[in-house]
Amino acid sequence: MRAAGAILLALLLLAGMPVRAQEDATPATPPETAPAPMAAAVQTERIEIGLSTDSIAITSDFSGAELTIFGAVDNVDPMIQRQGRYDIFVILEGPTNDLVTRRKGRVLGIWMNVDSQAYLDVPESFLIASTRPSQDIASSETLERLSLGVKNIRLRPYVQGTETVDDIATFTEELRRLKAQKNLYEEFPSGVHFISQSLFRATLQLPANVPLGRHTARAYLFRQGTLVAQTQSTLNIRKAGVEFQIYTAAQTQSLLYGMAAVALAFVIGWLGRVLFRKD
């Protein structure tokens, strides 16, 4: 029993990280812990994911790619595994930003933005893969509580401000829809496969416009509809190549960048004159 307690402690420590990350968004959510093990069979499953690298550099011609994440489940109950009652979610969540959703309306016949609703800490991307469609894995309350699924991504409207629309729910759903339309919020209901009793592989499709920055990869292990373990690690996505250096320069060295752009224009204008001189 003492040994089991030590393992459970280790698991809690392991689970501590994702829980803390979640608390930033929703402080009310109680930490999800593994159920106490049965006295006879010590069954504390653990889940781990391995990213072969902690950063991905995408080149300027990046047109989307498949991202494969490998993982392992420890202490698998062979019986339950044979029955296919273990399920896994793997999520890659992009950096968050404050965004605004705007709605056009007709004013004097002209279409212009009239209403807007701001949102705080919106994930720029959210890709989720699972062994089966999520509704077959756990109850909708559990899925909602853990933000599993595109429709469960927490979108927090900013309501303190004076500019708030009457139909916030419509704006929230439109924000979700626009993100999904650009493949930034996407579900892969059969994206996770067990390749052995304890090893699994998750495949996510990174869209061409994948946001840059720190992404969080999370994995959740469900046994018979109950969350038993979770883990997370981070993945940096950055741009590589000359284009990225240009982008960085425009953001951080903007004065020099602007002057260089003007200098370039002078040189090309002058060259054009010299090369095609006719007087």
Binding site: I110, W111, E243, A265, G272, D279
Partner: protein
Amino acid sequence: MALYLPIAEMSVNIFVVLGMGAAVGFLSGMFGVGGGFLITPLLIFYNIPPAVAVATGANQVVASSVSGVLSHLKRGTVDIKLGSVLLVGGIAGSTVGVWIFSILRTLGQLDLIVSVLYVVFLGIVGGLMMQESVRAMLRQRAGATVSLRRPGAHMWIHKLPFKMRFKASKLYVSVIPVLALGVMIGGLSAVMGVGGGFIMVPAMIYLLKVPTNVVIGTSLFQIIFVSAYTTVVQATTNHSVDVILALLLMMGSVVGAQYGAKAGQRLRGEQLRALLAALVLLVALRLGYALFVVPDEIYSISRNFVL
């Protein structure tokens, strides 16, 4: 061949952009205008974000104006003093313009205002030019000689104080309308991404009565510096100058301008102005039409706003 634009954050076909630059360069060489008022709408039609189209358009205008002003300097058809006074106003106007540009962007109204300004200004200038050139053509058919400048006609503008002598333009005029014109063009340069030649040239001819031979050179001279200033300010405040896009446009337009200038020499002045007017009106109509069409997507997401 696809090329990724780092600031616009999208891929474009390199030949389409070069072709766009060449076509606009051809027209600007033919008509002696900077071409900014064509470049920016074309980029917007090609789905470049308007903020990037405007800022990059200003950058491209620098190159085509440098190219153009060199031959005018050689011929001595630049009034540097008049150009400098216009420039002082232009810098002030551009500063205010970029500031307004930023505010409009956070309010989500930039795209609309840019389109409306284009429709209004292109509509007015195109309409006036068309009217004037058609009249000139009719008059010429009747056998009369045509002169754009009627030096005897004095207006209220010439009664204003703070007069200054501009030798190269043979002009003795108050600095107030000159500065005001500069401010207006500077503001337009920032918000619309144009050099403003299409407004500057008629304003100098009709309002200030500057002789036609120095108008284009002087306008180009001041446009270089106002556009250069606008480019730098856009780069520092809005980070929206795409240097790769600008480079492609410049290369296309510099080459196109040479052939355009040759083609322009074969056409008569009034015909040239009527053609340019038709083109300007066409762009205005196309942009105006887009304002009234039901958009594909009513909702949009943006990162530019203030809480």
